[in-house]
């Protein structure tokens, strides 16, 4: 049976019908965007940073987080940004993350700006510098750290790395 043939289509329909009769709950189906679902779940869990660390270390593709990065819930956006900023390593990633440089949440702006500035993005560096006086707190920081302190330390670290190269 060849893929795309009428017989194959019929077979597929029969399979789908059979699956429907099994009536598996929708919630147990494999999510369309596992990474996005993972950060959504983490954002409102009791241990968000533990979950996000796990997701971040799995190393995925930033496009898989696109819906979460645009989520109207700031907690979800923060979570997605945290992971995406750690995954970012090329210009394609930067293009997806750059709109978040104007996010309403200073911490989101700082996280994105730090990551992109480290990739050489001049606009991101400007954003990072503009956050130097922010007294908002970085999410989940341990011990607590202000956005301003993070921004300043990020610039220092990027400059030091540049000097070494």
């Amino acid at each position: 049976m060849r893929a795309g043939s009428p017989a194959a289509s019929l077979f597929t329909i029969l399979l789908l019908l059979a699956a429907a009769r099994c009536s598996a709950p929708a919630t147990t189906a494999e999510p369309a965007e596992p990474a996005a679902e993972a950060v959504r779940a983490a954002a409102h869990s009791a241990v968000p940073i533990e979950r996000l660390t796990t997701t971040a270390r799995r190393r995925g593709r930033i496009p898989d987080l696109a819906s979460a990065l645009a989520d109207p819930d700031p907690a979800v956006r923060r979570a997605a940004t945290y992971v995406a900023a750690l995954w970012a390593d090329d210009p394609t990633d930067a293009a997806i993350l750059r709109p978040l440089l104007t996010d309403a949440d200073a911490a989101v702006r700082a996280i994105v700006a730090g990551s992109l500035a480290g990739l050489g993005d001049a606009g991101a560096r400007t954003t990072l510098a503009s956050l130097g006086d922010s007294t908002d707190e970085m999410p989940w920081s341990d011990p607590p750290m202000t956005v301003g302190a993070f921004a300043r330390s990020a610039i220092t670290a990027i400059d030091a790395a540049g000097a070494r190269r």
Binding site: H44, S45, A46, V47, P48, I49, E50, R51, T53, T54, A56, R57, P74, A75, R78, Y82, A85, L86, D89, D105, A107, A110, I111, G114, S115, A117, G118, L119, L128, D136, E137, M138, P139, W140, S141, D142, P143, P144, M145, F150, S153, A154, I155, A157, I158, A160, A161
Partner: protein, 400 residues
């Protein structure tokens, strides 16, 4: 990345639902006591770190925990305390060694934001259950030293102001030093990256590693006390109240049913730069540290509280100083039943640190024996070490 090790850990995380992190129970960390020093060995199995990186981390840990007492070691019971991190690269197979805590290094580019974290099973000692930590390879020395504190069993010393009470650290939620638990939390390494290691951290870490057992101090008779502290740091009018509450009767019943023993420390300062938890007095200024003991001992026997002998010394930088230098007044004791009162005040010279004081409790009726010691750490930790059969408790114990 050693995928197998990470995968097994992820599986553990998933199985635990991430809310109760159940790690394999082992006895990774250990403590050894000799006449010369107290050594705490913290074995760390590392994934993703070069020898250069672990070398830098060892220096960071050494600077904070072994040289954090004005460049020297902290002390406990007169012995210097040394913390020894032992780093080992994870096996190529990814199989984790149960004799080591886990430490997973996250590669992070300069500018990227990563929250280093050490996970542990609440209520478990580092000698009972291994920790697993995630630390960025770009982590600062202060971050590494802070996370090492978690490997020692210490908790964070800040609180999240949970505005909506949902139990989460939401956007806009802020934190503050947990001064209710530790008056000096705002300047503590476990509360802020700008902070320092204090003697009380050493006390607690050693306790987490079973120092009482190692020193053969039975603790089963005195139930740990509670204490409260009030306004933090600052200058005139600072005060902290420490309350040790005895809730168990001893094997000798002379003190049976006694009420709480409360000790109040009060610093009367005429200078800035004064901290509780260390009683730092700025050089060239005049300060008075007033220590008083309020007692409420209900007993069928006469009770004597005295400061005679060397037991009433204050401790400067962890070393006992002759009491005569500091004690201005310690009235002769009180006898009787259901007695109450206030005793003692000390003057502290300029530019000195006081990390603790020792009081002597004595029963002069000769019923119970020669008495014992009570040591108050500046942090608020109360260590009581009655001599054998001196009272309702035996051996050393401390409040938390």
């Amino acid at each position: 990345m050693k995928a197998r090790a990470f995968a097994s850990m992820i599986a553990a995380l998933g199985a635990a639902g991430l809310t109760t992190l159940l790690w394999p129970v082992h006895a990774a960390s250990s403590l050894a006591v000799s006449d010369g020093e107290i050594t705490v060995v913290v074995p760390l199995e590392v994934e993703g770190a070069s020898d250069e990186l672990t070398g830098a981390w060892m220096e960071a840990i050494d600077a904070a925990w072994n040289k954090g007492n004005k460049g020297g070691a902290f002390h406990y019971c007169g012995r210097p305390v040394r913390f020894v991190p032992v780093f080992k690269q994870i096996a190529p197979s990814g199989t984790m060694d149960p004799g080591y805590h886990g430490l997973f290094v996250m590669p992070v580019r300069p500018g990227q934001y990563f929250v280093s974290k050490v996970l542990h099973q609440a209520g478990s000692s580092p000698t009972q259950a291994n920790r697993n930590g995630f630390i960025a390879d770009t982590a600062s020395a202060a971050t590494v030293a802070h996370e090492f504190g978690h490997y020692l069993g210490l908790d964070d010393e800040y609180l999240v102001i949970d505005r909506n009470g949902n139990g989460q650290r939401d956007e806009g939620d802020t934190t503050r030093p947990n001064t209710a638990a530790h008056a000096d939390a705002a300047s503590s390494l476990m509360g802020t990256l700008d902070g320092a290691v204090f003697q009380r951290h050493i006390d607690e870490a050693l306790e987490e590693h079973g120092i009482a057992d190692a020193l053969q101090c039975p603790t089963e008779i005195l139930v740990r006390g509670v204490y409260t502290t009030q306004p933090v740091g600052g200058c005139n009018g600072d005060r902290a109240t420490i309350e040790a509450r005895v809730t168990a009767d001893g094997r000798n019943d002379s003190y049976a049913g006694q009420g709480p023993v409360a000790i109040t420390w009060r610093a009367l300062n005429r200078c800035p730069n004064t901290l509780f938890g260390g009683y730092r007095v700025a050089p060239g200024t005049t300060s008075t540290l007033e220590i008083s003991a309020r007692y409420d001992l209900r007993s069928g026997h006469a009770v004597t509280i005295s400061t005679s002998g060397h037991h009433q010394s204050l401790f400067l930088s962890g070393e006992p100083i002759a009491s005569g230098n500091f004690i201005q007044q310690w009235p002769e004791i009180v006898k009787g039943t259901n007695v109450r009162g206030t005793l003692a005040s000390f003057t502290v010279p300029h530019g000195e640190w006081i990390t603790g004081a020792v009081f002597r409790f004595e029963n002069r009726e000769g019923v119970l024996g020669p008495g014992g010691d009570m040591r108050l750490f500046g942090s608020g930790t109360v260590e009581i070490c009655p001599t054998s059969s001196a009272g309702p408790f035996e051996g050393c114990t401390t409040s938390r």
